[in-house]
Amino acid sequence: MSGELSAAYRSGRVRALKRDGLYYHLSMEAPGLAPSEPGAFFMIGLGEIESPAPDPLLMRPMSVLNHDGDFVDILFKVVGRGTELLAAAEPGDSLRLLGPLGRPFSRAAQPQPILVGGGAGVPPLCFLSRRLSAEGIAHRVLFGFNSADDVPDSALSKLSQEPEIFTLDGRRGQKGHTVAALAGDREAGRIQACGPGPMLEALKKVRQPGEAMELSLEERMACGMGFCRGCVRPVATGDDWRYATVCREGPVFDADDLVDVNEAGEVCLQEEGSCG
């Protein structure tokens, strides 16, 4: 666990929901929340805050695209039933919000930030880029998408600087992966990345010696506050390792803390069961 929670559980309302490329842009009004830092997320669910057994049961973690006073914006892709229902919301619908949660990205001018986003990993980096620009911090922004049709142009148009776009189909920006653009010798910066696992793995391989690197991870969550232990990743502790919670100690981790270990040996040996 790291730090006191600044989160609150509040009711909110849908202000607007519109398509943006492959994504949905949800604008919400939710008074009474602490301000969010880029990289933070909310647990979000449909329905009244008083509903005892909502359906779907669990709220979904969503990175903040923007948080300004009483207004919170997210950009999400439909991946399952929870997001499917959220994509069908109407202006005025009630929402439940818990947040802001999680350890955000760091913000410093030196070494120069290099923001690398892939697909659904782009929203928190849009927030970060806007905040860095507002603070006068020069930085690079590289965003990758599978197809030109995926690009959330409306969200990107709010950035103070034009991102370098990469698409696999080559119909927008440069053809190929963001990571390829960082290969070879270059000046070490601070990589701040969010995206699919393979993208994050590939990034580690193009990292310059001594380069700072922060990775934002995704995991299934239930509580979002660090007490169900459902959302863990292995991190180093001296010569050993332990499970850290993505919701509380992350979602942003220093790449040097994340370790690849053989986790299979840890599995509860119960024959048939449900070790809680």
């Binding site: 666990m1 929670l5 989160a7 609150a8 559980y9 669910g45 805050i49 008083e50 509903s51 005892p52 057994a53 909502p54 359906d55 779907p56 049961l57 669990l58 709220m59 929870g82 439940r96 818990l98 995991e219 299934r220 969550m221 239930a222 509580c223 979002g224 506050m225 660090g226 007490f227 169900c228 232990r229 459902g230 959302c231 863990v232 990743r233 332990r242 499970y243 509380r248 986790e263 299979a264 840890e266 599995v267 509860c268 040996l269 119960q270 024959e271 048939e272 069961g273 449900s274 070790c275 809680g276």
Partner: protein, 305 residues
């Protein structure tokens, strides 16, 4: 306003609502979103003699009106619990029930002996839904003889209230409750999660490394109510109800089925506003029915029976 005080499993609780083991960490993580002092009691995450890392992810899956978990009893172990977690609960205005699990009756007793040295431990809850190492991982809670042996071993060294948590994954839960009663338990907690699983239709396999997992949430409320009722109707041992409660109504159903108090689990994830709302709604319900306390409501249920 009605008084919510209850006597449950040998403890005086300021209200009949507890946090269930594994669903509220070590009591402080959710503060101030869920203030720990709201609860009549907090059952801490099950601890084992040595720390356990638990299972790899995925550890969670959502189901209709419920969820599956395969945490694998991740916990800090007894030493770190006594050094770091228990002292931090000093100022919490709730009873502290420490959930423990171990591989044998002897290990259970050793843990109980050490916990007995700490005044902040108001009661123990023995989590027997865990592998019996000597019996190739067979669930203790499925074996009345093992339940009795563990209960007796702990009873000898621990004088404060002892609760035994039962698994629903048995043919006759009242038989196991009788074994707990014979061992001198002050109450049984019913129920732990139901054995369940999920299948990924692309791989044709369960997403969980352990294959099976534990089902909890609103879907299991009817199962938990029936378990509590079956144990309570024999009248031998008090029960603490748990499984799927998510509102004051759910809590009242457990009390009417015979539970002395009720634990909240999954609802603490899905609705962190629930504990405060449940307390408010309980008091409102009693006031509206003209009851000044819960005993008076219990009397009314009895008269109507």
């Amino acid at each position: 306003m009605a008084d919510l005080l209850v006597f449950a499993g040998g403890l005086e609780l300021k209200n009949p609502m507890l946090a269930a083991s594994g669903c509220f960490g070590y009591g402080l993580e959710a503060d101030p979103v869920i203030p720990p002092s709201l609860f009549g009691g907090i059952v801490t995450k099950t601890i084992t003699p040595a720390p356990r890392r638990g299972n790899p992810v995925p550890r969670l899956a959502e189901t209709h009106a419920g969820m599956l978990n395969s945490i694998g009893l991740e916990n800090v172990g007894l030493d770190a619990f006594l050094a770091d977690k228990l002292p931090a609960l000093e100022d919490v205005d709730s009873k502290i029930v420490v959930s423990v699990s171990a591989g044998s009756a002897g290990e259970f007793a050793e843990m109980a002996e050490r916990l007995a040295e700490h005044a902040r431990v108001d009661a123990l809850e023995l989590n027997l839904s865990c592998p019996n190492v000597a019996e190739h991982g067979r669930n203790f809670a499925a074996d009345p003889a093992a339940v009795a042996a563990i209960g007796k071993a702990v009873r000898r060294v621990f004088a404060r209230p002892m609760w035994i948590k039962l698994s629903p994954n048995v043919t006759d839960i009242s038989e196991v409750a009788r074994a707990a009663q014979d061992a001198g338990a002050d109450a049984v907690t019913a129920i732990n999660t139901l054995l369940g699983m999920d299948i990924n239709i692309d791989s044709g396999k369960s997403p969980f490394a352990r294959v099976t997992a534990g089902l909890s949430g609103p879907a299991i409320l009817p199962v938990a109510l029936a378990a509590v009722w079956r144990i309570a109707r024999e009248g031998g041992i008090p029960t603490i109800g748990v499984g799927g409660a998510s509102s004051a109504k759910g809590l009242l159903k457990f009390l009417a089925a015979g539970a002395e108090a009720v634990q909240l689990g999954t609802v603490l994830f899905s609705d962190p506003g629930a504990p405060q709302r449940i307390l408010d709604d309980l008091a409102t319900h009693l006031d509206a029915q003209g009851h000044t306390n819960l005993n008076s409501l219990r009397e009314q249920w009895k008269e109507q029976a």
